[in-house]
């Protein structure tokens, strides 16, 4: 009874202080808003309109049609013409264009014998079919751009000669579930919930105890009968509401602006996010009991935040990371939550089906709370 009252005392005190702290309160709303817009629009793995040049050695009607056909895919945009390959390579080096299409003199010869066109009998010999129509010279340092241009390798050419398409049957048929249009935002927005919560939740609580110490309130606080665990709980409860508010902002706007569906049940969503919110908050508390001042607590927050962004599977797929990085990723709450929230929001899975991540977050929270309470000593030694 008294314990509850003491938790309530800390809770309402934190809430009043938070209400008065305009800056923090503004951040609660602005961080998700701004980050959502930035990440939602900026991160896009469907690259389009890459500026490229062309070296047209054939200068025929066919080469012009070829250029137009490639432009029609919208993957690249032809902005420059170069006389020869050397000039083109200089242009790539100076980043004028990211790639150059070199069309050889004998382009029509090559095209006629090309297998996708399938003209001429007897069938083209291996020697002839193995000759591509033209060549791309690409700035390969950016793998995403390189991949986008590589994807042009097998573009159909039959329409160039207004012939019926002679498609070969693909080896595999691919069915894209959950995100058939392959929009990046569908993957980014739920992941962003994890990143923003990691950032704000840890940031707010990591300063919690340190601030009391810096402002001289700690000596009074520890001479009262407040127990460590009561102090810790009272400090994180207000932020759970704030975390929930941020989730609503991100998923709500993500749905309105980027048309990201929320397929999962509301309870599943509430359950998994509150698990992650408390996990992040207790991590913040642990930091707060280690840091000597607010600068240190901020540094430690960034120390956790960076791997959470890079390794959690938010931007790069977990499966593509080296084993060592996967181990590190497994220790981060954000990794487990990225899986959970994508599961719930996009694939409508139940938490029970992702029990490993759920248990992991729950155990992390309890351990964090215990560590923070034990580390927080009610004396000045």
């Amino acid at each position: 009874m008294n314990a509850l009252l003491r938790i309530y005392a800390i809770f309402s005190k934190e809430l009043t202080q938070l209400k008065r702290d305009r800056m923090t309160f503004g951040m609660v709303v602005m961080i998700p808003l701004i980050q959502l817009m930035l990440f939602g629009y900026a991160i896009n793995t469907n690259v389009r309109h890459i500026p490229v040049g062309v070296v047209d050695q054939s200068k025929t009607g066919l080469s012009r049609v070829l250029i137009q056909t490639i432009s029609a895919t919208q993957v690249v945009k032809f902005t420059e013409h170069y006389i020869n390959v050397q000039q083109a390579e200089t242009a790539i080096a100076s980043a004028e264009v990211r790639a150059v299409l070199v069309i050889p003199k004998d382009v029509s010869q090559r095209l006629v014998r090309h297998q996708s066109v399938g003209l001429g009998s007897p069938p083209s010999s291996d020697e002839e079919t193995s000759r591509p129509v033209a060549q791309w010279v690409v700035d390969g340092s950016d793998t995403t751009i390189a991949a986008a241009i590589k994807s042009l390798r097998n573009m159909p050419l039959a329409e160039l000669l207004s012939k019926p398409v002679n498609r070969t049957t693909p080896t595999f048929e691919v069915t894209l579930l959950y995100n058939p249009e392959q929009r990046t935002a569908v993957n980014i927005v739920p992941g962003l919930v994890a990143i923003i919560l990691t950032m704000t939740m840890i940031m707010f609580t990591s300063a919690a105890i340190v601030r009391e110490r810096e402002r001289g309130n700690l000596e009074m606080l520890i001479t009262t009968p407040v127990r460590s665990i009561e102090l810790m709980l009272g400090k994180i409860i207000p932020y759970m509401f704030i975390g929930a508010l941020q989730v609503v902002i991100i998923l709500g706007l993500g749905n309105l602006v980027f048309n990201v569906p929320v397929n999962g049940g509301l309870w599943q969503l509430a359950g998994s996010t509150s698990l992650f919110i408390t996990a992040s908050l207790t991590l913040g508390l642990v930091i707060s009991t280690i840091a000597k001042n607010q600068l240190q607590s901020t540094q430690m927050t960034i120390f956790v935040l960076l791997p959470s962004i890079l390794l959690s599977g938010f931007v790069f797929p977990y499966e593509g990371m080296p084993e060592a990085a996967q181990y590190i990723a497994e220790t981060l709450p954000a990794t487990h939550f990225v899986r959970l929230i994508r599961g719930v929001v996009l694939r409508d899975v139940e938490m029970i089906d992702m029990a490993f991540d759920v248990y992991w977050l729950a155990i992390f929270t309890l351990a964090g709370l215990a560590v923070a309470s034990l580390r927080f000593k009610k004396n000045l030694d």
Binding site: K13, T16, G216, N217, P225, N379, L380
Partner: protein, 308 residues
């Protein structure tokens, strides 16, 4: 002998090589106001932190209200109030919110809470400030809020660490009136200070210097038992005279007070007047008289501060 609320024996505390408190013996009686008098850095705050269980002693025994420290520190917390030297309530809460916070911490709710807060606001003259943000209050107002918060749960024992350092003499007197009221109601109080007039109001006090207790007792006892005579000399050329007198080994200190020189002379001299008239440096017209010792004289004699 009456009941003791604080009993310490050979209490010591080191910070690395620094001996902040050395072998402190202390006995504080119930219902009394006990003072710690000492200069900056003498260990007053450290002593209070040891007695409230905030610091662990390096050696020695402490019993506060019958609780053994540091073992029972947590149980003791319900029974003591502590007003820290640095203001430790929340600047970004109002006066009332701060008191509500403390009330809830001590389990006071509803009507009980409201009436206790109103009572405190009233006795401490904080009613006009009750909705003011604490950070914007004056030093004296903050100090009264600090006292309100420390006494909210009616502790048996109250620790006040330099409570009046930012307070004018008028407010200081009122503050002490309140301490006497609390004391009359049975609260034991331990207060630290570096003001002589404040120390003189205590029932008993200990003079601390560099972590060592130099003397203790009631102000009267201390003045009576002081190992020195106090003589005032009215004369000209006092600055030069002071230098001359300080060369004598039996002169403990000499301090100028306007047109007079206040001189402390060791008790080993039986007749201080005769001793002084023998000195060549004192002119014949000088007006010499033995006066009643003050607490400041006791302090100077104990701490040997006079010999600059």
């Amino acid at each position: 002998m009456s009941e003791l609320v604080i009993e310490a024996s050979k209490l010591s505390r080191n910070f690395g090589d620094l001996k902040a408190i050395q072998e402190l013996d202390l006995e504080v009686e119930k219902g009394r106001i006990y003072g710690f008098l000492g200069p900056n850095g003498c260990g007053k705050t450290t002593a209070i932190r040891l007695l409230t269980g905030l610091l662990k002693p390096s050696a020695g025994e402490v019993q506060v209200l019958g609780f053994n420290l540091p073992r029972d520190a947590e149980k003791l917390r319900l029974h003591i109030g502590y007003m820290t030297q640095r203001f430790s309530l929340y600047d970004d809460l109002t006066v009332k919110e701060n008191l509500q916070f403390v009330a809830r911490i001590y389990g006071l709710v509803g009507r009980q809470q409201n009436s206790r807060i109103d009572e405190l606001l009233n006795t401490n003259g904080l009613i006009p400030q009750k909705d003011q943000m604490t950070g914007s209050m004056s030093g004296g107002q903050r100090q009264r809020l600090g006292l309100s918060a420390a006494t909210l749960h009616k502790p048996e024992l109250l620790f006040l660490d330099e409570p009046t350092s930012a307070v004018d003499p008028e407010n200081r007197r009122e503050f002490w009136e309140q301490l006497f009221d609390l004391s009359d109601q049975g609260t034991s109080i331990l207060v630290s200070t570096h003001y002589m007039d404040e120390a003189e109001r205590c029932h008993k006090l200990a003079i601390l210097e560099e972590g060592i207790k130099r003397a203790d007792g009631s102000p009267e006892e201390l003045m009576q038992d002081m190992g020195a005579h106090v003589v005032e000399i009215g004369s000209t050329n006092l600055r030069q005279l002071k230098q001359e007198l300080l060369k004598l080994s039996d002169v403990i200190s000499a301090a100028q007070l306007g047109a007079r020189l206040r001189v402390l002379i060791n008790n080993s001299i039986a007749d201080p007047l005769a001793f002084l008239t023998q000195q060549k440096s004192i002119s014949a017209e000088a007006n010499i008289s033995v006066v009643r010792p003050s607490l400041e004289d006791v302090f100077v004699t104990c701490t040997g501060e006079g010999r600059q």
